[in-house]
Symmetry: C2
């Protein structure tokens, strides 16, 4: 694989790019409120839950394609003579705003073409405000798989009342003065916190164990001809990634000390054969900022729902660091996976061609050829100077 | 279908766009000469023909995926128990420069995902200079179908010696003074002439009857789940299109009088039930500039190879209009199809979602849904003010 040389100009670009993309939570701002009422061609059935999540159930009408409704269950219950192929209890999930429509269509179109057309895993779309009729129509048409559009409950999105807003504002202002991207944004912090501690409890996701996180405007370059969820299940994996890189330190000044405090109090959660060497160059004394880039994740929500991560998130949450600083879900997920899972439970999906912003993972050699990959094999962040993949690779030594 | 309102600003944009895209021949400039010799991972076999066309035959090696080699024959000769599905004698064809690589990959990736993955029609790429090793590697990987890379023979590309260069230069300068896009370009004229009269005689295309013309950087928005070549064959079609629009008159001032001269001399070639009403609003007195936008074509090369079109092209060619003016292959093909084929032999592929530059055809209603189309149904040129589709539709009256 190619080592990308880093000139001063490159380095500057990388720093600017990191500033743009680190804390990989997807930035959501206040969008437009859209009316559902004017769209006549969908027969809709709303389920408004107690936490205000809204589920659109697209029904078959003369105006809409039949929606296949595969069961999210991994069981093989079939009424036909032939058993259906084994499936994982998994979903594709994307957070998006109505204004992201074109980027959402682009990502869904690619992932359907390269993977999901063959596997028909359901899609779940989440938004902090209701999806527009046009959004649902334009996205639903792209897949024959089950598709749901949900509203994020307010109490898992907005800054909690117990946060000291004066201190939070000072934290934001400090990051703005340091020029940190999204340093002044509350909605970005909402998103990071939601992705860290709440998405897997959303009522549209609780039926599922596995998820593949998708974002608007990403690239999927290669055919994926096997089921990555079953691969995870069959190999006792917990967390899968494609790209890793360092976090920007000013966004998480107190995160590592908080992690160390938690671990000191709850040593029983740390896996014996963990990945400390991925996240620390000195056996845990300091955090080296390495994290898996969480805009791509194929992972086990039961890991996030389990005791170790639940206690961990509660501990982080109680410090207010998601708002007083600007903790990203990428370092939070990554540190947890590195400490509470065995290192062999973390999987590098090197056969999945992926690009977000300007960072790409392009499969190499046989995998590039067999995947009919459209990426340039030389456009590959794997062993670029700022990549953390070598930290992951050294775990195998 | 939506009528797109045309404001003055819109109209200006459309005029500018038309100036950019009319004469839909693909603009080829002198690119870089690339060496074939350094690329070690392909085992290549060169066939240099008498007309200098170069064919790359990608062989199966440990470094390259097996290339399926479906016979271009429409016959159903099979050595297995099950007959293979019926196929047309057809190919996908694209003219491209090495510098178009990213746009080529984008077009091929989409057409493979939306159509050719299921049908495995061969690809033919043509260039006026040798394709680079990198180009062939990056494009070959995208398909399991047969793929060939050919060089355009010089004598079907460059301006012929018998053209009066002084007069040709004056013609170019005149168009430049009028601000006509590519008005001063000789290579653009080469391309228009090649697409008008030569591509179907290229040795890589002579084995085939049907072709689908593809260009770099176009969009294919929808699944195509049937074989459009077999559709053409079974319904006695000759020419298929998705978008139609008017040509820019300064590029073809003498084309229509030349056509009328030809028809007066060879009335026997004009079909009884022709499409004169598509290209003329006054029964042939003047040309209304309407043409099928030939960057998309699914058509019958035997029609171009037949007596009527052969004589027609020779007649046009003899006037030097491809160089003294700037005749495009779109009006040339369109006028020929309109006059020498029956109107029921021209097919509007309304189920193929397509976009080139800023002009899109997006299928509507059931076809949009069943095609899982990613286009906006409202982004549809069909009945925009400058579209000629209504001229085509009136043929049915």
């Amino acid at each position: 694989m190619a080592l990308l040389p880093l000139t001063a100009a490159h380095r500057r670009s990388v720093i600017i790019a990191l500033a743009t993309v680190l804390c990989v939570c997807y930035f959501m701002t206040i969008g437009h409120e859209d009316s559902y009422s004017s769209f006549k061609s969908l027969s809709t059935q709303w389920t408004v839950s107690k936490d205000s999540a809204v589920v659109l159930d697209v029904k078959q009408t003369s105006e809409i394609r039949p929606q296949s409704k595969p069961s999210p269950s991994a069981g093989n219950i079939s009424s036909s003579v032939h058993s259906p192929p084994r499936r994982a209890n998994a979903t594709l999930v994307m957070l998006a705003r109505n204004s992201d429509l074109n980027g959402v269509i682009s990502s869904v179109e690619q992932l359907e073409a390269r993977f999901n057309r063959k596997f028909q895993y359901p899609w779940v779309f989440l938004n902090d405000e209701p999806f527009s009729v046009d959004f649902k129509k334009r996205v639903s048409v792209l897949t024959d798989a089950e598709i749901s559009f949900g509203l994020i409950p307010r109490d898992s999105w907005v800054q909690p009342d117990w946060i000291d807003e004066d201190r939070a504002r000072e934290g934001r202002n400090s990051l703005v003065r340091q020029g940190v991207i999204y340093g002044g944004s509350v909605s970005y912090r909402n998103m990071c916190r939601f992705n860290s501690g709440f998405f897997f409890h959303h009522e549209l996701l609780t039926p599922y164990k596995w998820y593949w996180r998708v974002e608007p405007d990403v690239r999927y370059y290669c055919d994926l001809d096997y089921d990555p969820f079953l691969f995870m299940e069959d190999h006792d994996k917990v967390y899968g990634f494609t790209i890793s890189m360092p976090e920007w330190e000013p966004t998480i000044p107190s995160l590592w000390s908080t992690v160390k405090d938690f671990v000191a109090k709850h040593p029983q959660y740390v896996a014996r054969d963990n990945s400390m060497d991925f996240i620390s160059d000195n056996a845990g004394d300091t955090y080296n900022m390495c994290h898996f880039w969480s805009n791509f994740e194929i992972a086990d929500m039961d890991f996030w729902r389990g005791e170790a991560y639940t206690k961990f998130f509660e501990y982080l949450e109680a410090t207010g660091g998601f708002y007083y600083e600007r903790w990203g879900d990428a370092p939070v997920h990554s540190i947890a996976a590195a400490l509470f899972a065995r290192k062999d439970q973390i999987h590098f999906f090197k056969d999945i061609g992926y690009k977000h912003a300007e960072f790409a993972h392009c499969p190499q050699g046989k995998q590039w050829r067999e995947g009919h990959c459209s990426c340039d094999p030389n456009d590959n962040f794997d062993f670029a100077q700022n990549s953390c993949l070598r930290h992951f690779m050294r775990l195998e030594d």
